[in-house]
């Protein structure tokens, strides 16, 4: 197991180096001189230009610039945002809990609904429920979620007036300093009556929108994995022993059927972050996804560079963890 972990860790190092290289190159490929972007197009003396170039390290050879870049990254320096003059890392970390909260809610929604639905469809194979669910699942993972979000806003928020349209909490009624950055926790800690409910109220629609695609994938996966398991000998044995149908399904079959589902949930992480970009844009959710899109609009390349690097590193780390976890559950993977 140690060998497996070490090998897996070792394999991620080149990926990280390549990732840093890509973000480093990408920023240099962007049209426009970074110094000119900062100082304006005209009215700069050659001495000052040289000073700025030196300041930014642009007078150094490219390989040295890359090593400086990596050196800074390793010391937690991801550059300074052009629009806010804040450190990119600080900005990212301030906004990230919002994205994390939304993603957690989304995946929780998907798992809590998807697994029971998939199990039920497998048990009642061929029933109208099965057919409806599988039809809905195809629609679910074909869903353009940006449209789904607008549609839900149109129906639930505008039409029935049930949920708010944007943001994480009613900012007019409630205000408190963020302690954890997770609004659900902060609102509970704040001791303000109704704050938690308001947060929950704001979370519902974005959660459904972000959770829809994973929900469809998980329901389908659970169903097919469950169908496979239900025809196994040990399920027949469990039935023959006279166990109740509920025990057979929930204890004997489901436990084994869940192994591929765990992998699928792990694989959703990258997609979830991509979905968060769209969901946050639609619901004005102040997370890193919306920040990234806004940074493009502002041509804030350091923020874009740092943001992409941070998000991708995070996905690499999470994928690594999922792999390790899977190796722990399923010994066959370790030796593959």
């Amino acid at each position: 197991m140690i060998k497996f972990i070490l090998r897996r860790l070792f394999l991620t190092i080149p990926t990280f180096i390549a990732l840093m290289f890509v973000t480093f190159i990408a920023i240099r490929l962007v049209p426009g001189d970074p110094v000119e972007v900062r100082t304006g197009e005209h009215g700069i003396s050659p001495e000052r230009l040289a000073y700025f170039r030196h300041e930014l390290g642009l007078d150094q050879p490219v390989w040295k610039q890359f090593f400086d870049y990596v050196w800074h990254l390793l010391h937690g320096d991801f550059g300074v945002s052009l629009s806010s003059n804040e450190k990119v890392l600080t900005e990212f970390l301030t906004l990230f809990p919002a994205t994390l909260e939304l993603s957690f809610a989304g995946i929780l929604f998907a798992v809590l609904l998807g697994i029971p639905a998939g199990v039920f469809a497998a048990v009642k194979r061929g029933s109208w429920f099965d057919h409806t669910l599988m039809g809905a699942a195809v629609a679910g993972f074909s869903m353009p979620i940006f449209w789904w979000g607008l549609l839900l806003i149109m129906l639930v928020s505008e039409g029935w007036g049930l949920t708010p349209v944007a943001g994480r909490i009613d900012m007019i009624k409630f205000y408190f300093e963020p302690t954890t950055g997770f609004m659900l926790i902060d609102s509970l800690l704040s001791d303000q009556k109704g704050a938690f409910l308001s947060t929950l109220h704001h979370l519902i629609l974005p959660m459904i929108v972000l959770g829809t695609v994973p929900l469809a994938v998980i329901a389908r996966m659970t169903r097919s994995s469950m169908l496979e398991v239900l025809s196994e000998d040990y399920v027949r044995t469990a039935r023959a022993k006279g166990l109740s149908e509920f025990r057979v399904i929930s204890l004997h079959a489901l436990r084994n059927a869940l192994i591929p589902v765990v992998t699928v949930v792990g694989l959703q992480v990258g997609g979830l972050l991509a979905g968060a970009v769209l969901t946050e844009t639609i619901f004005s959710w102040p997370g890193v996804g919306k920040w990234l899109i806004d940074s493009i609009g502002r041509r804030d390349y350091p923020a874009l560079q740092g943001g992409i690097l941070l998000i991708s590193s995070l996905v690499i780390v999470i994928n690594l963890l999922v792999d390790l976890l899977y190796g722990a559950i399923n010994p066959r993977i370790r030796h593959g």
Binding site: S142, F146, W147, L150, L151, G270, G271, I296, G297
Partner: protein, 298 residues
């Protein structure tokens, strides 16, 4: 979609009818195929089918509701958008753009994917390792974030959307081709071909490749729908096709502000995306079940 239809023909005729009888049993797949064919016809003959041009503006006819709704005009079946352009015509021309994006992305990533995948499998060693690490890297960046990165370097346009989304989906094909090629390597017919003196290029593309096609075709079909979704998302974020191109995602972005006053302007383009993606996915599922029983979901 062309290579999907032609592939079974290169196999013995018995397989084509076997494929069709397996495929036609799946009602969802046949339904998907029919809708897909309708969309293809609309896209190909948009000039003749669409009542107006996609960018012609009718003054004084802005934001008309669909013809059957109150205040609708029978000359504009699905109403008009904020600039007085006919929605139906824009949607029909949009089909052309979306299908074009989907097919281009699929072709580009399939061709490059096959080449890189076979090269990785045949060369092995350092080439294989480097290629696979690069693919790992591409896969580790969330698809939309990667597309955003590419578009922010190249600038937003339809062509760059295709480039960006092709890059995003490339690893799927490379890994798939490499995996199936490696699985074929130990088999007797490869050894026989080598003994017979078949050169490496011929061995790659003529001997091995046809035996890796079934999963590739399935992946390619589903790749078209993914590409359409991804491109629409980029269009929606303002990073894809630029106005006045009638791209469905960009149309949605334009319509956002009318969500309260004119809901159909928001509803229709999204519905068009959903219908096309669902039909391609149903068709792809059917293809998978018919072509590759091993991959069949129960």
């Amino acid at each position: 979609m062309a290579n999907i239809n032609t592939t079974p023909q290169s196999q013995p005729p018995g397989q084509l009818s076997a494929f069709w009888s397996a495929f036609s049993q799946n009602r969802g797949a046949v339904g998907g195929l029919i809708i897909l064919l309708i969309i293809i016809v609309l896209a190909l003959f948009a000039e003749w089918i669409a009542p107006y041009s996609a960018i012609e503006q009718f003054r004084g006819m802005t934001k008309l509701p669909p013809a059957w709704a109150e205040g609708g005009d029978k000359h504009f079946w699905l109403g008009t958008d904020a600039l007085g352009r006919d929605m139906l015509s824009r949607l029909i021309y949009g089909a052309r753009i979306s299908l074009f994006i989907g097919l281009s992305v699929m072709s580009v990533s399939v061709v490059i994917g096959i080449t890189l995948g076979l090269v990785a499998a045949f060369m092995g060693g350092a080439v294989d390792s480097v290629l696979m690490r690069v693919m790992d890297l591409i896969m580790s960046i969330p698809s939309l974030v990667l597309a955003i990165l590419v578009v922010s370097i190249l600038g937003p346009s339809l062509t760059n959307t295709i480039v960006a989304v092709s890059v995003v989906y490339l690893p799927n094909y490379v890994r798939l081709v490499r995996g199936s090629a490696l699985a074929e390597f130990g088999k007797d017919y490869i050894i026989a071909a080598k003994v017979a003196g078949v050169g490496p290029i011929r061995l790659m593309f003529v001997t091995v490749l046809p035996n890796c096609l079934a999963p590739l075709i399935v992946q390619a079909a589903l790749g078209v729908s993914n590409a359409i979704l991804e491109a629409a998302a980029l269009g929606f974020l303002g990073l894809g096709a630029q106005p006045p191109t009638p791209e469905w995602g960009a149309m949605l972005a334009d319509a956002r502000e009318f969500i309260r006053s004119n809901p159909w302007i928001v509803t229709l383009p999204g519905l068009a995306i959903l219908i096309s993606v669902v039909s391609i996915n149903l068709f792809g599922d059917g293809l998978r079940d018919a072509l590759d029983p091993k991959l069949r979901r129960s």
